[in-house]
Amino acid sequence: MPLAQTATTVPVIIDKDLCIADKGCTVCVDVCPLDVLRIATTDDGDKTAYMKFDECWYCMPCEADCPTGAVTVNLPYLLK
């Protein structure tokens, strides 16, 4: 059985202008209990954190511990 590609909107949003992943910061990736955040390299070579897996407990360590205030935790659409 092949797998489908079903779209899902994710609750954790990163402000690329504030994110300092290109300086080596991985704080949000490190603290997430469910390990759903990763660092992506954008087309212009910049790095930014993003939510890769839609498995969020909306618990907020990523937002609370981000040194630049780049992370916003919204509620998953299904329960907001």
């Binding site: 997430c32 209990p33 469910l34 990763r38 998953p76 299904l78």
Partner: protein
């Protein structure tokens, strides 16, 4: 990251602690302090900085026994009654005697507890009989304070490794097999003693929102402790005593009547009337909640809109920074203002958790399980209603006792074949070209849990559940497919969740009476003290399926008078009180 690699490393330690949430760190600190030479390893599937149920902190101690407010005898009596009599009191009594020392120790870590103008602890009454709730004004700092202590004590921390099976040999524990959650590489840890603090089985039922991770418990707490103890041959107690909570509908977080109650908030029906005298969580209270809904008087709400502005503002201040801080976002999104509207609540999906109820791995007052050298503490160990302070205190007991245990023993020899078999089991979903992804296995299991196991419990439905679970197990074992290391972690969790679902059905069928209010409400049976005043112990049977025995409740340390034992069944508000 997440690429599946092939690899295996083996390390040795004196004491392996699995789970870095609440009980685990305290066990590590106590063990290291008692024997500074001991090699103590603290392992977590996430990162110890922010792992476990108290990832973002806690608003208070729900069960503190503070001299001048309560005695260990009163507390032991209250919890015995709240837990419908099925309680080996020794563990509760020891906790009650020693938890104040742990509070003072937490205070020395920089975690503050509320005091009144005279400098006395400002303890609040929430339980039906006694006074045990102590607010924590800076409860958002708990994990950071603990982490500082772990660094200071030089505890070896291993993050992002998930323990999948315990190793045993020579009739005792020998270590654990672990898998890296980002590379799938194996780590075999040989240990003289193992302390499990893996939290609740909080991802068992499916939240009504349908969102897999929209659980009350931190969804990382998917029940590995229960499954590992089971497969290792340990006894698990009273798993039919489910955890079911009164929560904010959809958000599925606590409404926090424990915070709001002492300030004048209360649980109300749709008319805004109080219908229970006591908002403390128990199966008996949940039964009243259920009856109110069945009686057509729902929905049930948390009512704050009668309170003064400054009181509401204070409640908001506490509830919106600690434990589940996105609660403020949730209410803002819905336009709910505590000053104007009541907060809609509902009955949660089921789980296992001793922190709130009594379903856990069987332990004694030293946190010893039925396997020598293996300990359990916190939400996964069956000390009833032990909450966060119970996790700290029983974690301390485990750490202290484990140091004595390792003094006289070397590593137990285990069968290398067990490690090989576990590697094969774990990696099977990576060896297929396509198949069913773990999120679908998990969704189906948990949806079936809701359909067939959610109380009131009906025998025929639970038997159907067992059939459906077997089908899902076949699908899982023959066809589950993962593409990367992260999905492999979810696959392992799906397997754990299915184990817990099997145990939930089996344990519930075994106890042929009703007990603990809604938690084990079997519609065909009444409470039966003559035959069922006992623990039910679930172990892994010869056929690989759950087996059951009865274990007598030990003679009480603190006597319960005949007219006291049903006090928690008498909390419905009488008409006179409601009219006031």
């Amino acid at each position: 990251m997440d690429e599946i690699l092939d690899g295996l490393t083996q390390i040795d330690c004196d004491i392996l602690i699995i789970g870095g949430g609440t009980a685990g760190p305290m066990a590590a600190l106590k063990a290291k302090k008692k024997n500074p030479k001991a090699n103590v390893v603290l392992l977590d599937k996430a990162n110890v900085k922010r792992s476990g149920a108290i990832s973002m902190g806690m608003d208070g101690l729900n069960n503190s026994v503070i001299p001048g407010y309560a005695t260990p005898e009163q507390y032991t009596k209250e919890i015995t009654i709240a837990n419908d009599g099925i309680c080996d009191q020794a563990a509760v009594y020891r906790y009650a005697q020693e938890c104040f020392g742990i509070i003072e120790e937490l205070d020395s870590f920089g975690i503050r507890f509320q005091k009144d103008q005279n400098g006395e602890y400002d303890v609040k009454k929430v339980h039906h009989i006694g006074t045990y709730v102590l607010p924590m004004p800076n409860g958002d700092t708990v994990k950071k304070a603990l982490y500082r202590q772990l660094r200071k004590a030089r505890i070896n921390i291993i993050n992002r490794f998930m323990a999948t099976r315990l190793l045993t040999g020579e009739g005792r524990v020998a270590g654990a097999v672990c898998v890296n959650t980002r590379t799938s590489e194996f780590l075999v840890v040989r240990a003289k003693a193992v302390i499990m603090g893996l939290g609740a089985a909080g991802r068992l039922g499916l939240p009504t929102s349908g969102y897999l991770m929209g659980t009350y418990e931190n969804p990382t707490n998917s029940g590995e402790g229960y499954a590992m103890a089971y497969h290792a041959g340990a006894g698990l107690a009273n798993l039919e005593c489910y955890q079911i909570n009164p929560l904010i509908k959809d958000y599925n977080g606590p409404a926090c009547a424990y915070v709001a109650g002492p300030m004048g908030g209360y649980t109300a029906n749709a008319k805004g009337e109080r219908f229970i005298e006591c908002d403390y969580w128990s199966g008996q209270m949940m039964q009243e909640f259920f009856d109110e809904l069945q009686g057509g008087k729902g929905p049930v709400y948390l009512k704050l809109n009668h309170l003064a502005e400054e009181t509401v503002a204070e409640i908001e201040r506490v509830l919106h920074i600690v434990e589940r801080p996105t609660r403020g976002h949730f209410h803002a999104g819905r336009g709910t203002d505590y000053r104007k509207q009541m907060i809609e609540m509902h009955i949660s999906e089921i789980g296992f958790c001793s922190g709130h109820s009594a379903s856990g791995v069987f332990v004694d007052e030293h946190a010893r399980t039925t396997i020598p050298g293996l300990y359990a503490a916190g939400d996964m160990a069956n000390v009833p209603h032990n909450y966060m302070l119970g996790a700290f205190t029983n974690g301390a007991f485990a750490g202290l006792d484990a140091v004595d245990f390792i003094a006289d023993v070397d590593f137990a020899a285990f069968d290398q074949g067990d490690v090989d078999a576990e590697r094969t089991r774990v990696m099977a979903p990576t060896k297929r070209d396509d198949g069913i992804p773990p999120n679908q296995i998990e969704y189906k299991t948990r949806r079936l849990v809701n359909d067939y196991l959610q109380p009131p419990k009906v025998t025929a439905k639970m038997e159907l559940a067992q059939k459906r679970f077997e089908e899902v197990r076949d699908d899982m074992e023959q066809g589950m497919y993962v593409r990367d290391a992260h999905e492999l972690m979810r696959a392992l969790e799906a397997s754990t969740i299915l184990d817990c679902a099997d145990m939930a059905a089996s344990a519930s069928l075994y106890r042929t009476e009703s007990r603990w209010g809604l938690y084990h409400n079997r519609v065909e049976y009444e409470r039966d003290d003559e035959n069922w005043f006992c623990h039910t112990i679930l172990t892994k049977g010869e056929d690989g399926k759950p087996a059951h025995t009865k274990r007598p409740v030990k003679p009480y340390v603190v006597e319960i008078a005949e007219d006291e034992k049903d006090a928690y069944y008498k909390q419905r508000v009488t008409t006179t009180v409601a009219a006031e």
